[in-house]
């Protein structure tokens, strides 16, 4: 029964026939993809580059034919991983960095901020409202100040401070380590902003709380100086960098709020799709926020230490703010193809 018998010389199974016909193509694609994975597409010669799409298509059709006609599992597994790797090399190509950066500044950033205008407005109003509230509360009862601002942050700038001392804080000079100071402010604020954004995931509530708290501190510190007749000086001191910084923080809060509301009220989309849409807009806006805070850090760390005139400080702050507003909301470059 087990006697050997002679078969005709044609291959017995499809896998054999199939491997014989296409193995060379698969091996070549494998070799090209491996080279691209190790280095980059620039390491392929023109000839290889021209052959690549054809090889990819051959291999991907090999995969679907193999699935339907062959039972060689190892062959199918090999083709699957080869096609996957080739797919990511061919379709997963990133736009070159300089083009991405150019796109970000020309379209991505202003468009993302514009798309968040409603949330941004809410955050700006909340900041202003909280500031006014803190201002009025502390004017009536200075003890409110101490429950709003942690002691470590004030450095003596509280309602009991003298006008002379308060004035000195506005015009003192940190000649030493200006750049370090600026960098520290930037990294610290940026970290807080990223944090406010990430917290938006909890339906936006923590982001809102952070925004409100920021407004409260603003109002509280303004009142302390205003009570001693230094309100305008303080406003100028704050404006030079504050217009940029507070605006940036509002955008960060708006980005967090967008994610939170997208998850809570997805509308016509599925919750998942809404979250993804909101996530991408918000993330783009957040890259911008970090850049704005870098500018704010420079204005605060260097600009404010070197410019001492109130008028000039206010002017710089106002013109920088105007610049941001024009860039985000008024300037609409034509779409590049």
């Amino acid at each position: 029964m087990n006697a050997p018998i002679t078969l005709d010389s044609a291959p017995m199974v499809n896998a054999t026939r199939f491997r014989k016909a296409h193995e060379a193509d698969w091996a070549r694609l494998d070799e090209l993809v491996t080279r691209m994975e190790k280095r980059s597409i620039r390491w392929l010669s023109d000839e290889d580059l021209l052959a690549l799409p054809g090889l990819y298509r051959t291999t991907i059709s090999s995969l679907s034919v193999a699935r339907d006609t062959s039972l060689d599992r190892a062959l199918i597994a090999y083709l699957e991983q080869l096609c996957t790797r080739a797919y990511f090399q061919i379709y997963g190509v990133q736009t070159p960095a300089h083009r991405q950066i150019a796109r970000f500044f020309a379209h991505g950033w202003p468009e993302a901020v514009r798309a968040l205008w409603r949330e941004t407005l809410i955050c700006v109003l909340l900041t202003a409202g909280a500031a006014v509230l803190a201002y009025l509360l502390i004017r009536n009862d200075p003890s409110w100040f101490y429950s709003m601002i942690p002691e470590g942050l004030t450095e003596g700038r509280d309602p009991s401070a003298s006008a002379v001392f308060l004035r000195s804080t506005l015009y003192e000079k940190h000649q030493d380590f200006l750049m370090v100071f600026a960098t520290f402010l930037f990294t610290h604020n940026a970290q807080i902003a990223i944090f406010a954004f990430a917290l938006g995931f909890a339906f936006g509530v923590p982001s809102l709380l952070l925004i409100i708290y920021n407004g409260l501190m603003l109002g509280a510190i303004l009142e302390v100086f205003a009570a001693k007749g230094l309100g305008e000086n303080m406003a100028a001191w704050l404006m030079i960098h504050g217009t940029t910084e507070i605006f940036a923080i509002c955008i960060a809060g708006a980005a967090g709020l967008r994610i939170g509301t997208a998850i809570a009220f997805p509308g016509a989309d599925s919750r998942m799709a809404a979250a993804v849409k909101a996530g991408r807009i918000s993330a783009t806006a957040m890259i911008g926020v970090v850049l704005m805070l870098a500018v704010a850090g420079l204005l605060e760390g260097v600009g404010r230490q070197t410019v001492e005139s109130d008028g000039l400080r206010a002017l710089i702050g106002a013109s920088v703010l105007a610049g941001w507003l024009v860039y985000f909301y008024a300037w609409r470059p034509r779409k590049a193809a």
Binding site: I5, R19, S61, D72, F88, V180, T183, I194, V276
Partner: protein
């Protein structure tokens, strides 16, 4: 047996072929993260040591001029910020779509909808790490340093990070919160060599099997047999050969591998012939 909840996902290319991607398992994800964290800590320690050295070197040599030492400190601050916030994003934006840790483990970040992975998506998925990892850690660290960490706080931050840490285990697609927001998922990138053809094109004398012996099994059993043949473990070969012989009522001729290879070829041919006319017999429990 196939695992009940497979990590294989449909992923249709523009050519209309399903690539059947395999998601990264929770274990490999955690491994990749730990590797990245380790690399980041090593880098941080090295640049901090270097900064301290350079700082004191510049302070002592350049009396009265603080610019070089300022520059060193600025560099450290920016370096720390970039390391913490951009490590993951910058690497995942590259053409490999993976951080060094992910590359070592064999993972890659991919957009769930099959489109290109955009910079915004990468930033979104990594900004969320801030509340997943760094927030509870730094909160806890700060409070412990100040000696004010009470039991409640410790429990709270542990629960908080626990929710986010184990989030990937609570959904089918192993999504982190960041993946959820960004519309990405992490797939494993395996690399395999083409294993040799089991049947072979060369002419060779083969055993023939009666119809009844070949009618015993379906595709599932054929592919298990394929694995057995490829692994070439004597025990497994002997067991499988003995089972088939006893079921088919064939005599033992002393050559297990040769017997199984021939049986595989004959069964494969039979099943493929069935597929040609539209009869696909998935396993021995199904009649084609």
């Amino acid at each position: 047996m196939k695992p009940l909840r497979s990590l294989r996902r449909k992923f249709i290319t523009p050519e209309g072929v399903d690539l059947n991607l395999e998601l990264g398992s929770a274990g490999s994800r955690a491994g990749a993260f730990l590797l990245d964290a380790l690399i980041m800590i090593v880098i941080l320690v090295v640049i901090t040591g270097l900064t301290i050295y350079l700082f004191f070197a510049t302070i002592s040599s350049e009396h009265g001029n603080s610019w070089p030492s300022q520059f060193v400190m600025v560099l450290w601050l920016v370096g720390f910020f970039v390391l913490r916030n951009c490590w993951f994003s910058l690497f995942e934006m590259g053409s490999r779509g993976a951080t060094p840790g992910k590359r070592i483990v064999g993972l890659r970040v991919v957009a769930r909808d099959g489109a290109r992975l955009t910079g915004a998506a990468v930033v979104a998925r990594n900004a969320m790490r801030e509340i997943e990892v760094f927030l509870p850690l730094s909160f806890l660290g700060e409070q412990t340093a100040a000696g004010t960490a009470d039991t409640f706080l410790v429990i709270f931050s542990l629960v908080w990070s626990g929710i986010f840490l184990f989030f990937p285990l609570f959904n089918r697609d192993r999504l982190r919160v960041g993946d959820l927001i960004a519309g990405t998922w992490v797939v494993s990138t395996s690399k395999a060599k083409l294993s040799p053809d089991l049947v072979g094109a060369a002419y060779q004398p083969r055993r023939v099997f009666p119809e009844a012996a070949l009618a015993l099994y379906g595709i599932y059993e054929l592919q298990v047999l394929e694995d057995v043949l490829r692994n070439e473990q004597p025990d497994a070969l002997a067991t499988v050969a003995a089972t088939i012989r006893s079921k088919a009522g064939l005599a033992n001729d002393g050559d297990d591998y040769g017997f199984l290879a021939d049986y595989y070829a004959a069964l494969c041919r039979r099943l493929e012939a069935g597929m040609l006319v539209g009869k696909r017999r998935e396993s021995k429990f199904v009649d084609a």
